[in-house]
């Protein structure tokens, strides 16, 4: 509480890591110039954040529609140049295309679906949160750090530590020793073929990570079709479908189909009533309020 209140003010020395201030994606009139390889980005959210910075407005007032357009243009352009794009980017593209349609088309009022605006607000919130954490990281690393800016006694005469153990070993040492050792004894001659299928777990994980929470009835397959190569479409659909069945059984998802062979819609199970137990679990569950903030 005392002593270093002005810590950040005094001197902000050179960072120990590179802060990349300049946008890595120069934009002119909304036209992405593909100077930068998509590998330069740390995932679709990072790319979205870079694009939104180029809009030069407060993230709270950003045009998500415009952002979605830029992202889709970018992905299109990359796809014409490079054949492969990480699945993450494609799933995000599909979701943004879906979001765009929700924003543009009037949606018939149906039960308690969030509107396109609410979905857009939630995306904006996620971008703000990522940006906030980036800023926090810069602030943290810019503090006066012990051993770099401020120093402890160089010739300690006393090693008083409460309950100081006579023997030293850290949990990290313990774990690395164990993992290294198990790794060494592992049979490593396993050859893995390039995967042509989307594993169930992968489909589920990507969806959860990117979209965060499927708060509304969503059908991704329509949009995925645009971005996933035809030969992979079947496996993507199959994996997504069985993954969703599994999650319905666990009480995490709801599934809806209005007629036979009709489009399947899925959403996160409402966590307020019967399913409360599993939905409040934390990891995957979303907040109802978040989108309206």
């Amino acid at each position: 509480m005392v002593g270093d209140g002005e810590a950040t003010g005094a001197t902000v020395p050179a960072d120990t890591w590179e802060v990349e201030d300049q946008p890595r994606l120069p934009i002119e009139d909304g036209e992405p110039k593909l100077i930068v390889d998509v590998d330069g980005f740390e995932g679709p959210l990072d790319l979205l954040l870079a694009l939104s910075r180029a809009q030069k407005v407060d993230l709270a007032r950003i045009s998500i529609l415009e952002l979605a357009d830029q992202y889709l243009q970018f992905i299109e352009a990359v796809r014409t140049r490079r054949l492969e794009l990480a699945a993450d980017y494609l799933v995000m593209a599909a979701w943004l295309a879906y979001l765009k349609s929700r924003l543009l088309l009037p949606v018939p009022p149906k039960d308690d679906e969030p509107t396109g605006e609410e979905l857009a607000a939630e995306l904006a919130r996620r971008l703000r949160r990522l940006e906030a954490m980036r800023d926090a990281a810069v602030a943290l690393m810019g503090r006066n750090r012990l051993g770099r800016d401020v120093f402890r006694r160089g010739m300690p005469e006393l090693m008083v530590v409460e309950n100081r153990p006579v023997f030293e070993a850290s949990l990290y040492e313990l774990l690395t020793a164990y993992a290294d050792h198990r790794q060494r004894r592992m049979i490593t001659s396993v050859r893995v073929e390039r995967r042509q299928v989307w594993a169930l777990a992968q489909a589920r994980e990507i969806l959860e990570r990117l979209v965060g929470e499927l708060n509304d009835w969503t059908s991704l397959d329509v949009f995925l079709a645009t971005y996933i190569p035809a030969e992979e479409r079947a496996t993507v659909l199959a994996s997504s479908f069985s993954a969703s069945l599994e999650m319905v059984r666990e009480g995490q998802l709801e599934l809806r189909q209005s007629r036979a062979f009709g489009t399947l819609y899925l959403r996160r199970a409402r966590g307020d009533d019967a399913q409360g137990g599993s939905a409040r679990g934390g990891g995957v569950a979303g907040t109802e309020d978040d989108g309206k903030r």
């Binding site: 002593g3 401020v150 006694r153 300690p156 990290y172 959860e208 907040t287």
Partner: protein, 213 residues
Amino acid sequence: MSVDHDHLRIVEALLFASAEPLSTAVLAERLPHGADAEAVIEELQRQYETRGVRLVRVAGKWMFRTAEDLSYLMSREVEEPRRLSRAAVETLAIIAYHQPVTRAEIEAIRGVSASKGTLGMLLETGWIRLRGRRRAPGRPVTYGTTEAFLTHFGLDAIQDLPGLDDLKGAGLLEGQIPPGFHIPLPSDDPALTDSEDPLESEDLADLAPNDEE
């Protein structure tokens, strides 16, 4: 304010001689019975206020450190601290502000799967630690920061993280945890939170990866 000069000397000697922060309790233990350790520390802090070395409070304890404005002078011969990758720094910030937090939650915030080794490297720095397991499907390990983190970054408590109040006010720390279940503030309290569990043996059966031989 009158503080016994001998008490002052004792606390000064102990703090000067130690490279680690010392708690008020440890200092009090070495003072004559009945001495007011807090008053002694306060007076000592006052006396060093304008000196080249200052008495500061980190992680709830006390330590002498060189004055901040002299860093230009001191850092001349310091070997470059290990460079952390951008991903590692970002992950560290997320853990600090969102703790206790699971890897999946970190990934959800960054929108990208954790690169191999990032958490391992942060564990190696000694700034983060495994806290427990989240009471949620899969019961993933939760991460939090350590006392070494507070000491290194000169923080008295995790609540002193820069900009914490603003972030909280903007609702950016709530993550995906339903409001009402948690106080949306980071906590490095060693005690497990409501949503964290040590495992019980009967839970373990379904968790063991490939448990059968």
